[in-house]
Amino acid sequence: MLKYLFAKNEDIPSGSAAVFFGFSSIVWFVIGTGLGSFNAAKLAFPDFVTGNEFFAFGHMRQVHVMAVIFGWISMAFAMAMMYITPALGNNKLWSEKLGLWNCMLWNVGLTLGLTILWAGITSGREYSDFPWPIDLYIAFAIFIPLGVNVWMTVLNRRTQGIYTTNWFFLAATFMVIIVFLIGNLPEFFHLTGLTEAYLTWWFAHNVLGLWITPVAAAIAYYVIPKVTGNPLYSHRIGHLHFWSVVVFYSTPAAHHLMSAPLPEWLKSFASVEGVLILVPAIAFVSNILLTMQGKWYMFVESIEIRFTITGCLMAIPLNMQGGFQQTRAINWYIHGTGWIVAHAHLALLGFSTFLEAAAVYYGLQALTKRKLYSITLANLHFWLLLIGFTVYWVSMTIAGLIQGAGKIYEVPYIDVVIAEHPYMIARWLGGTMVFVGNVLWLYNMWMTARKGTVVPQGRMPHELAYER
């Protein structure tokens, strides 16, 4: 890949940027989940690797979070945009060279950012932990070049309309830049007090609501029709999804601070808007599941469909939780507990990751024109992810309910810690399964690029039978 960085744009093979992004994202997924597993071990066994600040939980926790959000999830998004946007516009990516540079600068910047974060150099703001020079780097060297490439590809398309997936890509690449620049204003201009606290959560909410959720859904809108051969069930429901994301999902930031001293009208407004995220959620899930009509056997047979549909099904509990847990009555019970940790993993490791994994599986086969090396390893990956995640989610939800009860009934805190201990061990085991699954995945995709059967000209990878 690196040899193309200084090549002429027209000499770079189509799909190079997407392949570079695809493998980068898997490597970051391995790193991110490895860190997650290590952190979980420390919560179960506090004397496991101790007395060194670089292996202290407080130094590593944010590195895990940022590695999976800006390494795995966002780079998998970029990978999907690099091959899906031109495919839907019946043209080529506007600039492969920009894409390659984008990916390289992304890897360099993220490595730098995570290293200094690991050393404890932080803004002290959750989800916007990076110091402001790194935030500026992410905005100007990562998201703006990505947005330019996606926008220019769509503007130069050779189709008349713009397909649903590309609406989401266009809107999300634009919105994430706005969110990044506004959400970090407290760091750029030393805004303090409640303004800082509120903007921290405004950023955290919108990076999920206007970047991760819509792009993940957009990927499903491509993968399901493409692999099953069915047309999307309804473009009108797609419209409903798109517009309700923009209108409802951009507003409930304050529901992360329901028990903080913010203006009451703001909390009530955010809470009502928070319930309304069920509109895009239901539109999305029903649209995807109805698109599967007549092709449900592929849920068993195709790894891409299995990942995508599992992710969509996980959007149901995700949004039921998301819609209602931020109302005052339920928030009273579960705020600040492991329930929220479980919910965050349902969003990022359950719903979102499964959709992106499908896009990376499909994209790497289509771009390298090679059939998946081993369906056995892919199945193992799927089940390790699904079982590992489920163990994690169930144990953290239970731990959260224990913490909630401890909070309401004023149990001495240490008794809550003792009661949670078995669930901390379970979450570590679940997280470790996810990590092991990802190591297998990296090997499988590497072997696919090296040794997978060549897909004949004019054929798609999903038309070939699996071999191993």
Binding site: A56, F57, S123, H190, T192, S259, Y413, V417, M424
Partner: protein, 321 residues
């Protein structure tokens, strides 16, 4: 934008929708929040903690530089006369950045701003011609018939310089809570300990939740979102033992066998209070023997040096009343 012709209405609606939600979620709240006056808690907190605690160019590696020192003053530094009941002053030595409330007094609220500027002369502190640092305290005053606390620049009103105050301050009267907050942010204490008792509960166990004006001038607020451990906003009222804090930070299992908190022994640095090199390897080996039942008592925790990072973190904990 030829490729976008047929999407004119959509693009405008998109701008309207996103602009509308930004107006409601950014502009309206900012108007509300900007109208909130500082409480006494916020005034004391920003004087004790200083300008910026997260990454900043004055302290890029979060070592606790560029922070004020709080001093419980017992004697007048000019005359040497005892001060009845003592007095809390905040020393900003030369070069230390002033907190947001001094640089931008508007965030303090109308009454406090007027009193701090007119009676407290805080603008003198930021005057470039008089940059020898400053000493501040909080006083009560009346503005338009209402009583407010305000910031008094003692360097301007009484002529007390940072050097004068530090000369009469004994080590036990000094608190490095500002530097301690840097440790709190850098070490990620806030990933498990919130600084936000919840409005809906917590009154009995963790104390009163903060009010809207308690945060003016603070950055980062570091509320925390995930409470894997007790809330710390009022921890100094629940437990004010330095001895307990010292043992708990060195190895939490010494005082709470079921704790899952990490050990923060590395904040002790190289040397203990007596200037002896701390032998961590030996300590850990002896502690492991104690855990295995081969020793009756755990090894003694080394006393921390007065300029160590852990000292400032303990100071910060004790400042959370």
């Amino acid at each position: 934008m030829t490729g976008f012709r047929q999407y004119k209405i959509g693009a405008r609606l998109f701008g309207l929708a996103l602009g509308g939600s930004m107006t409601i979620t950014l502009f309206f709240p900012s108007v509300n929040i900007a109208a909130v006056s500082s409480t006494d808690v916020a005034l004391a907190k920003q004087l004790a903690i200083g300008h910026e605690t997260g990454f900043n160019l004055e302290d890029p590696f979060l070592l606790g530089k560029n922070k004020p020192i709080s001093v419980a003053l017992k004697v007048d530094p000019k005359t040497g006369q005892p001060i009845d009941g003592g007095m809390m002053v905040y020393v900003y030595q030369q070069g230390t950045s002033y907190p947001a409330g001094i640089l931008h007094p508007r965030i303090l609220g109308e009454g406090i701003q007027q009193l701090s500027e007119q009676q407290g002369h805080i603008n003198d502190a930021t005057d470039a011609r008089k940059t020898a640092g400053a000493v501040f305290t909080l006083r009560k005053g009346t503005y338009q018939g209402r009583e407010f606390s305000y910031i008094d620049n003692l360097t301007a009103t009484k002529g007390w310089t940072p050097a004068d105050v530090m000369k009469v301050a004994k080590d036990e009267d000094v608190s490095h809570a500002g530097k301690g907050k840097t440790m709190f942010v850098r070490e990620g204490c806030w990933w498990c300990h919130t600084l936000l008792p919840e409005e809906t509960q917590d009154w009995q166990v963790f104390g009163a939740p903060p009010m809207m004006g308690d945060f003016n001038g603070e950055s980062p607020t570091a509320f925390g979102s995930d409470r894997k451990a007790p809330d710390l906003l009022h921890v100094g009222s629940r437990n004010s033992s330095r001895e307990w804090m010292m043992m708990h930070f060195f190895n939490p299992r010494l005082v709470q066998p079921h704790s899952i908190m990490p050990r923060f022994d590395y904040l002790w640095g190289e040397k203990d209070a007596a200037g002896q090199k701390i032998d961590f390897v030996k300590w850990r080996a002896e502690y492991d023997e104690y855990r295995e039942g081969k020793r009756v008592t755990p090894p003694d925790v080394p006393s921390f040096a007065s300029d160590s990072e852990i000292r400032s973190l303990v100071d910060f904990m004790l400042s959370l009343k």
